[in-house]
Symmetry: C2
Amino acid sequence: MATIKDVARHAGVSSATVSRVLMNQGNVSAKTAAAVQKSIAQLGYHPNALARQLRRQHTQTIYVIIPSIDNTFFSEVYRGIESEALVHHYQAFLVNTNNDKNQENLFLSALVQKQTDGIISLSAAAATGVIERQVAGLPMVIACQYLEDGSLPNVAIDNIAAAKEAVTHLLDLGHRNIGCLSGPATNVLYRDRLTGYLRALAEHDIPVNMGYVSYGNSTLQSGYDRGLELLLGHPEITAVFAAGDVMAIGSMKAARRLGRRIPQDYAVVGFDDLDITRFCDPPLTTIHQPMFEIGKYSMQTLLDLIEGKPTQNQRLLEYRLIVRESTVEHA
Amino acid sequence: MATIKDVARHAGVSSATVSRVLMNQGNVSAKTAAAVQKSIAQLGYHPNALARQLRRQHTQTIYVIIPSIDNTFFSEVYRGIESEALVHHYQAFLVNTNNDKNQENLFLSALVQKQTDGIISLSAAAATGVIERQVAGLPMVIACQYLEDGSLPNVAIDNIAAAKEAVTHLLDLGHRNIGCLSGPATNVLYRDRLTGYLRALAEHDIPVNMGYVSYGNSTLQSGYDRGLELLLGHPEITAVFAAGDVMAIGSMKAARRLGRRIPQDYAVVGFDDLDITRFCDPPLTTIHQPMFEIGKYSMQTLLDLIEGKPTQNQRLLEYRLIVRESTVEHA
DNA sequence: AACAATTCTGATAACGATTACATTTTGAGT
DNA sequence: ACTCAAAATGTAATCGTTATCAGAATTGTT
């Protein structure tokens, strides 16, 4: 690979001059600039980003930590991040932790070493790791989740209120025995959504049966498994609130297998509003999260952080309940 | 951030010694090693990867180019890549091009500059860009697709044979008017699958009606749109071969909307065997691709390339038809 | 033609690590 | 104690850039 020196020699100038045209910060005559450009093209020269970044002490690069790459929810948030990064000439890279603590640790220390300008984590768990490891100081924002000690800026929706609205929708339809398919209790997100579920019940003076809430792991299969259990163990349940569309879809299959018709015998509401929910049979009633915007604002916040501007510590975006055909008045 | 010099000073040794314990390549007494380790811990030192890589001239890093991050097919392939990378102490990063030529170009030149050790592209289009730009020389392999001039190693399945098998399955069930939901004709993958479709028909002496083939863009929506068109324009069609599960699922909604029962009135077979296909209603008959293995072998091939070992230029893995409930004997 | 002000350009010191080579220290064997 | 090889350490060059500073070339003004 050609280096800047090769170009300099080829163009008959010093490497400083080549660097100047590379950075095009003026102060170089049109003639030599042209000559240098020509040499660059002829030699197929590409500046070495490593060397440049080492010298400049910043990378114009951010990394996004994603807990599980196969969830399209995260992909959409990522797209928002990416598009915003692009307009600010930052480059976004993705790391996938597979929900694996080991992997997270590995990546985090790798990222610190990589001298990235900033990190957006879509997992509060990973973020906790960072802080324990005292690599704070590296600009970082959390998207979709948040740290309970509020130590890092975050952008998300109000999950408690949203979940409450979803469950209230079921209550308004006359359902009284409502199951809850939650995610891992270690995750704030699912704790909040569970809280919303409980509050909605409380507001309608419905006694809580903790047997109605089941904890899955956000996969289709666990939506199916937990959904099956729920219906088998509590046949009186007529509706379910799933704290994620993926689990909702899994549970719909479980209901069908038990001969329940959706929505007549079993109403289901999801959470997230993934693309696929419009193509289910029946289309899923769910909470819409502005995924793209969450990504976009996360990136904006990160940029503020990088540039040392003051930032809002918590940014809550708008959600909304989208009623489709998977919920109907209780018979 | 503490540098190696800080550690050296703190431990009362030279930076060379610190480097030696960092690389733990022996030749340093247990006593000083311990002292250095202690200083490292105390100062919270992390080696600067940029500097290290600049000096060592390799990064232990590979990048994976993904055309669209929201397709779970790619995620699964990526997981295979990642797991294999991990055991070889390589770090895999992801870049998403959103099927956008501009983005691809941007990323590619960025990657060259980043001095990565290698690239795995899940898009032949991106790979073509690389070659035009004469940044060959950078180890690179293509997964799932291939370049028609055979200039880069690739690992995939035999898409022609697989598509042919899928369509033959429909023919064996007695279907004669079979639609084809293809992807962009610019993509070898879809051209191959279309070829498979045509060959199956030819083998059964069924005249081809090119009106039966429609070109979508691999989204749920386009599966729906093209599927609707197909059924509206050619109501005599009783089965469809979709060159991707995502489009298959979209088209199922279109069929339902027109009052067709699946599979009785309309049989559909997909391609890929995404997780979601098991949770559709009805579960989708499809071609299973060994996504994880494709990823794994791609990474192995890339490593061989990096280490200068001889590599197999084309590796075809096994696929298989999985018959579920979306296909049934033609009435 | 002389001079100052301006614009270009080149030498060189960083950035933070690794490593070849030189040097010192250690320790075993006598 | 002395020698000598082996082990441990230090010095300094290097990776490919950018940025500071100083010097050279150009321009404009009188």
